[in-house]
Amino acid sequence: MAALGPLSRLAGLGCINRSRLMLNRVLQKRGIASCIDPSHGLTDEQKEFQKVAFDFAANEMAPNMAEWDQKEIFPVETMRKAAQLGFGGIYVRPDVGGSGLSRLDTSIIFEALSTGCVSTTAYISIHNMCAWMIDTFGNTNQREKYCPDLCSMERFASYCLTEPGSGSDAASLLTSAQQKGDHYVLNGSKAFISGGGDTDVYVVMCRTGGKGSKGISCLVVEKGTPGLSFGKKEKKVGWNSQPTRAVIFEDCAVPVTNRLGEEGQGFSIAMKGLNGGRINIASCSLGAAHASVLLARDHLLVRKQFGETLANSQFLQFKLAEMATKLVAARLLVREAATALQENRPDAVSICSMAKLFVTDECFNVCNQALQMHGGYGYLKDYAVQQFVRDIRVHQILEGTNEVMRMIISRNLLTEL
């Protein structure tokens, strides 16, 4: 990069492009891309967590993310390494092997990990959600039986709510669990289960009672239980480092002692899990958007057309600024939602939904625009930006579609007391 001295002199002579000078001045004075630095406003301890997550993402995940995507590898060893650092049960209580951190700490960690590989981080967040559900709603035996292995990722977990016939209308699920003596016998199937077939512990929402949400209970089903089988591995646009399969129950007998909480409490447990899950998924989108903005920025500084670098185009400068602004706004909303959930604020459910809605939509747009800025190169699999776009597209759909998020928010606004 040219020494700045000559540039200032030339600017004085009025013969250098003003925008280039401004860019250099900003870079020199305020530090590189510091307006989107995700460590602003964090405590020293949170900065340490974030640093470990960023380092892990850069060293252990980013070099492999393309291969994991192209070869559809479920990176068990890497995830276990992450678990050794405490990422297996981030907000699970320490007495069963968790790290006992807050929702905000968790968001910061997933945002950083996501810059290394969105798909793997998203799976880790789903695993965390399941571990938390057992930690929070399980009795002592269940917590001691499952949580330590989940926190160390000795065993992996999957969250089973969606069915072929019930996605957004989750409460209409049909998988039945009939009590026969000291077992429930499960019949039915779940669809689109992340990790399905490769994971060991399945947290399953099933119908033990009548229609609607009040008839749903939550059971923990272990792989290898007779009557538990899996569909074919789905071929997806993204999230390829985690297998997705249908989970099928055919007269699958599960001990009653595997039920989390009371009969009829299952839907509430599922939704409470999802509040945190939505923050986590939004955090994964943030990481992808952050990485994409940096990639776009680097490309603008290097790619030349019409005799100058793309960074000299005011349109692209403004576009990049808009992307950065949306990224920071999104980040603030997620972090506020995390705090609201941690403190059990009355607005927790709504703000988690708002965060999921806004952040997944905006971050997808940011990544998509970053791809556009790369021109033809953005479409090549040699460049990471397309994987960020493909991987976070599904965040607008799962853990509650963004349409369902609007339902939750509008209900809060329009319900008369």
């Binding site: 301890e45 470990v52 892990f56």
Partner: protein, 254 residues
């Protein structure tokens, strides 16, 4: 030998950052720029923590000389497993002119005060590339030194050090107390774990002033000017060997 190890850790500009020279050519831009622990210091901390895990030493003390922000670097060392920290406060003009001579005086004073058995440092810092602090510290203390260590093993009252030198690998045995400096292949530093980061919060960092240690911070060096490396210029093609020799003579290369 079961004693105390001092590990020096330096806060430097992160290795991934593009360095920019200040317009007044007095130094490089540090404001708002990402900083982290010198990579060789990370290797030094890792080695010290490993020795403690093998129960060969009792306590690891992380030391850093610099302004308030140096405490972040000490916290990272604590999160990796150091037991406590010492922050030697140096700021402003003193910090700008802080170099190996001053730091080694500080480390020597601390080593005596803390009754350290071993000092482990990185072989050099990635900002000034001096590669002097370890050697100077050993000289001031009149201790043996094992520099560019790629392997360290404690045997009874001696330390066996395999050193990476230009000719290959050299193995030496030195008495304790001693100074070691870590080279790249000594080990792979661990990631701090979340529980260790939380435990690090409770570990103590003592504040010390250089004056308390009787150290004079006056620098014997004055930085005249800092410039970027010269821009790479276009080469010139020549037709014959005679032309090449003539050109080389012209530009004073031979």
């Amino acid at each position: 030998m079961s004693g105390r190890v001092l590990v020096g850790v330096k806060r430097v500009i992160d290795y991934a950052v593009k360095i920019r020279v200040k317009p007044d050519h007095t130094g490089v831009v540090t404001d708002g720029v990402k900083h982290s622990m010198n990579p060789f210091c990370e290797i030094a901390v890792e080695e010290a923590v490993k020795l403690k895990e093998k129960k060969l030493i009792k306590e690891v003390v992380a030391v850093s000389c610099g302004p308030q922000q140096s405490q972040e670097t000490i916290r990272t060392a604590l999160a990796m497993g150091a037991d406590r920290g010492i922050h030697v406060e140096v700021s402003g003009k003193d910090y700008d002119s802080l170099g190996p001579l001053q730091v080694s005086k500080i480390l020597a004073a601390l080593a005596k005060k803390e009754e350290a058995q071993l000092i482990i440092l990185g072989k050099q810092a990635i900002d000034d590339d001096c590669n002097q602090t370890g050697q100077m510290t050993a000289a001031l203390l009149d201790w043996p030194q094992g520099t560019f260590a790629s392997e360290v093993s404690l045997e009874a009252e001696k330390i066996k050090v395999v050193r990476e030198i230009d000719g290959g690998l050299e193995t030496i045995k030195i008495n304790t107390p001693a100074v070691l400096t870590a080279d790249l292949r000594l080990n792979t530093p661990r990631y701090a774990t979340l529980p260790n980061i939380m435990k690090a919060k409770k570990k103590k960092i003592a504040n010390v002033k250089p004056a308390d240690l009787g150290v004079d911070l006056t620098s014997r060096l004055e930085v005249l000017r800092v410039d970027e490396p010269p821009q790479r210029e276009a080469g010139v093609k020549v037709e014959t060997v005679e032309d090449l020799v003539a050109k080389l003579k012209d530009t004073g290369k031979i």
